[in-house]
């Protein structure tokens, strides 16, 4: 099965990390990505720009509404994702728990709709 791991963390908290520790924080993600790749579990992954760069679009009555900002204002923000291949939810949970984001935020696991 494929699972999408959505990483929700505080952008403000991440921005407050001192420079000397930032490298370590990002390095944890690099190592995690590498571990997923080596295990053959990585399908795809991306880090996202902060919500300040987000644009939300809705079409109502044929009119396109474009709003500055994310879909929902939350305390923690979607900051990136991993699309992984895992045999079952327990395997996905075990990967999610090792994601650095789980230690400074939360990782939501969503099974991909099998077509």
């Amino acid at each position: 099965m494929q699972y999408l791991l959505l990483i929700h963390t505080s952008e403000a908290g991440f921005a407050a990390i001192p420079k000397d520790q930032l490298e370590q924080a990002l390095g944890a993600y690099t190592a995690y990505t590498e571990a997923l790749r080596k295990a053959g579990a990585l399908v795809n992954s991306n880090r996202l720009q902060p919500v300040a760069a987000a644009t939300t679009v809705r079409v109502a009555n044929g009119k396109t509404q474009v709003l500055n900002g994310p879909y929902a204002e939350t305390k923690e923000q979607l900051g990136g994702y991993y699309l992984i291949e895992a045999p079952d939810l327990d395997a996905a949970i075990s990967w999610a728990a090792r994601c650095p984001g789980a230690s400074h935020g939360a990782v939501e696991i969503r099974p991909v709709w099998a077509m």
Binding site: P87, D88, L89, D90, A92, I109, P111, M115
Partner: protein, 412 residues
């Protein structure tokens, strides 16, 4: 007996004996519990149509399994997109191939199914109902009446939980060693919740509820049998058996409530107590302590009265000390305070209750007020005792217990 009646009875017997086993086996690989239940109910309907004509098969269970499998494959073909169906059908075909030598007994996947039902990704309050339905075949209406929710709501929640198992890919598996304690705890908690629901109707006035306590014991026996080296599984079974052993003594001949301390030990079921004592000893030898063993040990100390010995209150205080340390449960703290009143006096017991009185959950918890009322009455503080009895009476749902509390209040 007519053929139809005989066929019906054979199908019903096979259902009782093997329902959970068949559901678990059919859904173990596809994770489609609802699909397995549907296929199985069709298989039972087919059996009732076929067996009166062609006779009851030599191995009814294997017949039902084969019929249910055929229906699963048909349903998968009907329901799914071509690509998905081919994968699903392949899984089922592999199963059939694996089971070609049908004389082999059906592998027991019930424990794996229970672990799936009590998975942390399944909402805690639906785990017990889900186990009752999938392992024992209870319908939603029966479960709903036991858990005091509407049948429609229960049906919906059960369906949602089964969909979650399938869509999220919750595995049917006995957890690895390191995750076992936590995951087993969820299974045991679900079984105990079912037992408690059945237990809350001690007179057995509602047959469905009494049945629930018995079924929970059956599940407890199953888990203890499948995991004989898990101390807490043995502990839970012991705890339920101790409680069940006292069932005949919990009401007098007029149906009035009899508190534990005033029960006639001759009415307790010695066989069940003996079995519980053996289980507790076995659990103890495994050297891993836990809440169910501690609670069972408290029960053991209480029923020691049947041997003509007094209740071992110091032991009970020590056990509740351990329970409080382990669980932080306010319920354990109340029981500890009651036991403390026996060893160190009523004033100490009341002080222990005062120490937890800030816990907001206790304001609506009947046993807290009943314990408080009893201790206050024993100190002679009549006004405060009356007030506490009023609270307890107002919070009690069981009419017999309510009458008991009213008698106590009147006797002040």
């Amino acid at each position: 007996m007519s053929d139809e009646r005989q066929a019906h009875d054979a199908a019903a017997a096979a259902a009782r004996r093997s329902y959970g086993r068949l559901v678990a086996y059919l859904s173990a690989r596809t994770r489609d519990v609802a699909g397995a239940e549907d296929a199985l109910s069709e298989a039972f309907a087919a059996a009732l149509a076929d067996w009166p004509k062609s006779g009851v098969p030599r191995n009814p269970e294997a017949w039902l399994l084969a019929a249910a499998r055929r229906r699963s494959i048909d349903a998968a073909r009907r329901r799914r997109t071509a690509a998905e169906a081919s994968g699903h059908v392949q899984l089922l075909a592999e199963e059939i191939a694996a089971m070609a030598e049908e004389s082999a007994p059906i592998p027991d996947e019930r424990l794996s199914l229970m672990f799936a039902c009590a998975h942390p990704a399944i909402e805690a309050s639906i785990r017990a109902p889900l186990i009752l339905q999938t392992i024992l075949g209870f319908d939603a209406a029966t479960i709903a009446s036991a858990f005091l929710v509407s049948p429609a709501a229960m049906g919906q929640r059960l369906a949602r939980a089964k969909a979650k198992i399938r869509l999220a890919g919750i595995p049917f598996r006995t957890p690895e060693r390191e995750a076992m304690a936590e995951r087993l705890d969820a299974v045991l908690a679900a079984i105990y919740a079912a037992f408690a629901e059945g237990w809350s109707d001690p007179a057995g006035a509602e047959a469905k509820r009494r049945n629930l306590a018995e079924e929970a014991i059956w599940l407890g026996r199953l888990v203890a049998e499948l995991l004989p080296n898990e101390a807490e599984a043995l502990g839970l079974l012991a705890l339920m058996l101790y409680s069940d052993a006292r069932r005949p003594a919990r009401r007098d001949k007029d149906g009035e409530f009899v508190p534990l301390g005033e029960q006639d030990p001759r009415l307790w079921e010695a066989g069940l107590i003996g079995e519980a004592e053996d289980l507790l000893r076995r659990a103890h030898q495994l050297g891993v302590i836990g809440r169910y063993q501690l609670e069972a040990a408290v029960q053991s100390a209480h029923v020691a009265r049947r041997l003509g010995r007094g209740v071992d209150w110091p032991a009970i205080v020590a056990l509740y000390d351990a329970l409080c340390g382990l669980t932080g449960s306010p319920v354990a703290a109340i029981n500890r305070a009651v036991a403390l009143a026996e060893t160190q006096g009523v004033v100490s017991g009341l002080a222990a209750l005062d120490a937890i009185s800030s816990d907001a959950r206790l304001a609506e918890y009947q046993p807290y007020w009943a314990a408080r009322a009893d201790l206050l009455a024993r100190t002679g503080d009549r006004a405060a005792a009356q007030e506490a009895y009023d609270q307890a009476i107002g919070l009690e749902a069981d009419p017999a217990v309510r009458r008991f509390l009213q008698r106590r209040r009147a006797a002040l």
